[in-house]
Symmetry: C2
Subunit: 152 residues, 2 copies
């Protein structure tokens, strides 16, 4: 996949928006990279913490979320496990599969990091009036909903 690159020609509206999304993602990544480093985490580990915040996932699914190979994940999870941030558990319905989840420590660290992220992004948010914040949130949510099936 990730093919084409020669499509119906995206309208200006669309490409401007995508530029904005990419820009915000890059900016957020820069902030997140710094925050992660402050806690001796890589950006990837931080993402793991965020992704597992409200669910447990099998290795392969987590790899898909991250856009990484399964083999990369084995080491990643092992190191995080050694640090007491995540745990592994066998999937009862499939003896091959392994579920990964956050430990209490992992949840804690995740919460702390989230708080710092809030701090970092505060100037961005405070540039908007309350009504605009709600509006932005709504639009983002609507757009994100559409992509959930993407990973399936």
């Amino acid at each position: 996949m990730t093919s084409s690159a020669q499509n119906p020609a995206p309208s200006d509206d669309t490409s401007a928006l995508i530029d904005g999304l990419a820009h915000s993602a890059f900016l957020t990544m820069g902030a997140l990279t710094r925050i992660a480093a402050d806690h001796d985490l890589s950006l990837t580990q931080l993402r793991v913490l965020a992704i597992l915040r409200d669910r447990r996932l099998r290795m392969t699914d987590l790899a898909d979320y991250l856009g990484l190979e399964k083999s990369t994940l084995s080491g990643l999870v092992s190191r995080a496990e050694a640090r007491g941030l995540v745990g592994r558990a066998p999937d009862p319905s499939d003896k091959r599969a392994v579920e990964v989840f956050l430990t209490d420590d992992g949840l804690h660290l995740g919460a702390r990091v989230t708080a710092e992220m809030t701090d970092q992004l505060a100037p961005l948010v405070s540039a908007l009036r309350p009504a605009e914040r709600r509006s932005l949130h709504e639009l983002l949510a609507k757009a994100l909903d559409a992509t959930v099936p993407m990973k399936a």
Copy 2:
């Protein structure tokens, strides 16, 4: 910086929005990681391509954008340079400084990758009506403008 974690208590509006921003950033990151891998690039190298698309930067400034140490950048840029994607040039106004810029090849690859990103994010965008797209873009732009001084 990256301090606190105990602040006035962000309103629900704010934290919901930040969650959305983070979510969209993580999702975008996953897509970008895959796209980058397809072109034998790391996520970081992809970011370099994107950041340098419309400007040349000194090593330190680029490191700040990426949230990385200067020493990390030396190798990163060297490898990209060896691949012909970026070039180094001395800053005429400061003999210590080095400016990094994209070569034609780098620009090319950046453009291709952008196109694929557009493909990947298309489902997300097409969930919105044209008016909503404009609105989302506007709000993002407004918010992002506010953070530009952040890196200074």
